[in-house]
Symmetry: C2
């Protein structure tokens, strides 16, 4: 994903949610709510619950997981095990399967008393009214999957949001402000080739026209707009944080990595998204015959590239960062010809931009050293870098992070069972975080596998994550109430 | 090239040349020649020349290089400099351009008194009679080139042979036995995809039907046989060392490497062809997200492959061998996915089979170590080897090597200007050596470059090489005479 990054100071220029999260305010406003006429159908009000009662509001684990697998009837993918639910998913954005999953989302949330808004990108907001009007505190994620994806990436976040609405409904919980669930369109970028494109449009960072004009990959002629129209999800609401402000955004997601599983922990309290940079590195050498050219007369572009790849890992480890090469091409590509040119991708990631600055500097120097020492007899090797993508580190909002931490402690009862993390991958929460306070909740991924039919998170872990999501939304609602008073 | 290798003991089963190169024999036979009626048109007889006179028989350097460039009008390739001769060559075997070059070869050698024989593979033998009948001592190489080749690889060997015939003719030299020049078909394997295929058929190591049935690369429908017919070079002579025995084969060729140039030497006395083995190495790891997978949870097939490539070079250098990787493919090939599978070619070469045995053993152990140390958390990496080609070391015939050495000393006057070498590449001399005594003569290649339009050997170096070729053929003829007596 390539995108324009706003300077930090201008990220929240005129934000509707600010009036609700202001740290100071007249206490009289709170009093106005707490003494308002009570709706006799309401069983509990978030702002009145003590810690003990609040912590007891939990999801129904069986219903959550049954409903998750129920919705996987739309876009069922590759089978990997014998049980009914042991298949992957292949639910590309705006496909017929995606339309059916969306229809289920709309029907279910409507039946739970939500108002549905669909914007011009098909982002679908199911909002449950609170005691007061205002932007909703939302759980959000996505129902689309990779073509060879699993049942949890994105789907779990939406299903946990819907389960939250069911819990609020059956317990007749009244929130101070609206709460809701948002299904963002085409998060995967697997059908229309920009990831997180629709939260990006909502955040004002991707132009609507560009997004609408995206053609499906693989040479098809459908665009996002034509497919939104075809399946009936081209909404009349502008796709914009101004037209549909959010008070906060919480996203439950599988970790997609092995850390929680390895550390035997249950919840990742996601403080942000690591910085990453993508480069294309080109190494130019000299084609020569493998049989007739002694080592000291070679300028072997592949040997140099191999040394660079090894070095990038060592250096990244030294800096507490990651380095990866996923693409490598060479020419001319003949068994008995030494490659004259190699091009490879380099993906480096770290929790802070500063670490990446240092690592980039380190690698540029190391790669220069490699081409200088490989170079002999005037044949010469050369290396050049092209920067393809720069994504600065994202720091989620402290209020949301604290809310997730308090919720995890309330559910797990032991802070050793959770850990603070940064996300290695991008999510809709990246764009959401530019326009409203945001945090994420991670649950373990078996073997760290995702984007794969075998992606798996146990029902118990799904329920723990959904409990933390529910608690986070309720606690943030209480925070909004408290700060208003 | 993949081919069946005969066991060493059966290489020369019933060789026609043996009767001429026998080390013992009645002295009366020699006397029979030396006292035979002299042809009044003959100016000199090889067997009567003393060393001083023999060494003075030299090529005409200007005529050699002018004729070489003249023949490059057929199949002229890519221009790289301003002079008329500063282009490469693109003369694919059995093309229209190749036919014109062949016609020139036949017409020129006929006019020099040669008898022409074309065999079923289009191999063309131009034989100049000697005092006695018998298999000819031949200079041989090829007129076909790579699609993006140069003016010297193969061409120089044929042109130097033709120049030899001119020198013999204008000096009215009589040889004891026939001498000649052979143009082997499709040495490059660039149009019909087996290198040295026609010398291979002649040697009885590639079946005629397989060679005739070879289709041109790039999806064309022409076969070697149909193209031989079309251009009129499908000869009636069987393509066989039995139908057309050679007494010896000398091949002048550019080095295609940088050693002579680097060492400031003029002639390579080629003792043989190094052994080589080609493998396909497959590394299997685990696809994973580059952003969410810590180093200690990865099974990165590309990182392991990069370490193997680095190690193969270090180990080969330690063994006095070569190692090269010219092809590398990986999957799935996405910037942010760690490759789960990498396949790469490995080409190892050494002067002896024993060194390759040791190197192969060393690398298998090293690669196993690399996958075991990269492997963590039970994800595992695995490596597997497939052997694609085994070509044992070729040892040329001591008589021919000694003849080339004596010729180089006669021409250069200083044995520091020549060196014994093994060829890194395959040549028609490899197959010739299975059926008759053989050696090769190398001349410097500028920057070691070949299979490239810029391939270049100076006119002076071409002439030195042609002189050594001429001397070698004459000296071998004297050897045959001396041994017969």
């Amino acid at each position: 994903m390539t995108r324009t990054i706003l300077p930090r100071s201008s990220r929240f220029p005129i934000l509707p949610w600010r009036k609700f999260s202001s740290l100071t305010g007249p206490r009289s406003a709170a009093r106005a709510i707490s003494t308002a006429t009570r709706d006799p159908r309401t069983k509990m009000r978030t702002w009145e619950l003590d810690e003990q009662h609040l912590s007891k509001i939990r999801v129904n684990p069986t219903r959550l997981i049954d409903e998750l697998h129920y919705t996987c009837q739309w876009g069922t993918g590759q089978r990997w095990g014998k049980a009914d639910s042991e298949t992957g998913m292949s639910r590309l954005a705006l496909s017929d399967a995606d339309k059916l999953a969306r229809d289920w989302f709309v029907d279910t949330t409507k039946s739970l008393g939500c108002k549905i808004s669909v914007d011009a990108m098909g982002n679908t907001f199911a909002i449950r009214p609170g005691r007061e009007d205002g932007p909703p505190t939302c759980a959000g994620s996505h129902l689309d999957t990779q073509p060879s994806g699993g049942r949890y990436d994105g789907i779990l976040g939406i299903l946990a949001g819907v389960e939250m609405l069911k819990v609020l409904s059956e317990n007749r919980v009244e929130t101070a402000f609206p709460v809701g669930v948002v299904n963002w369109t085409n998060e995967e970028g697997a059908r229309f080739p920009i990831s997180m494109v629709s939260s990006g449009v909502w955040a004002g960072e991707i132009p609507l026209d560009r997004a609408h004009g995206l053609k499906e990959v693989g040479g098809g002629s459908h665009t996002m707009k034509s497919e939104l129209e075809r399946i009936g999800y081209l909404g009349s609401l502008p796709a914009s944080y101004e037209a549909m402000p959010l008070a906060a955004h919480f996203e439950l997601h599988i970790e997609q990595g092995p850390i929680l599983e390895t550390e035997k922990q249950k919840i990742g309290i996601v403080k942000g998204v690591q910085a990453y940079r993508w480069y294309t590195v080109e190494v130019d050498g000299q084609e020569a015959h493998t049989g007739t050219t002694p080592f000291n007369s070679r300028a072997d572009a592949l040997l140099a590239a191999a040394r660079m790849i090894c070095t990038s890992h060592t250096a990244a480890a030294d800096h507490g960062a990651l380095a990866s090469t996923g693409i490598l091409t060479l020419s001319p590509g003949s068994v008995n010809t030494i490659p004259g040119k190699v091009t490879f991708s380099l993906d480096i990631r770290a929790p802070t931009d500063h670490i990446l600055d240092k690592l980039e500097e380190h690698l540029k120097s190391d790669f220069d050293f490699i081409v200088s020492t490989e170079s002999t007899h005037g044949l010469g090797l050369a290396v050049s870098w092209q920067t393809d993508s720069v994504s600065p580190a994202i720091h989620f909002h402290d209020d949301c992070i604290s809310t997730v931490r308090a919720s995890a402690n309330a559910i797990l009862g032991d802070d050793k069972l959770s850990r603070e993390m940064v996300s290695g991958a991008g999510h809709d929460s990246v764009y959401a975080s530019r326009r409203c306070p945001t945090s994420m909740i991670f649950v373990p991924s078996r073997n760290g596998i995702s984007h794969n039919p075998k992606e798996y998170t146990s029902p118990e872990d799904c329920a723990i994550g959904a409990d933390v999501l529910l608690q986070s939304v309720l606690r943030y609602d209480r925070l909004r109430f408290a700060r208003k008073v």
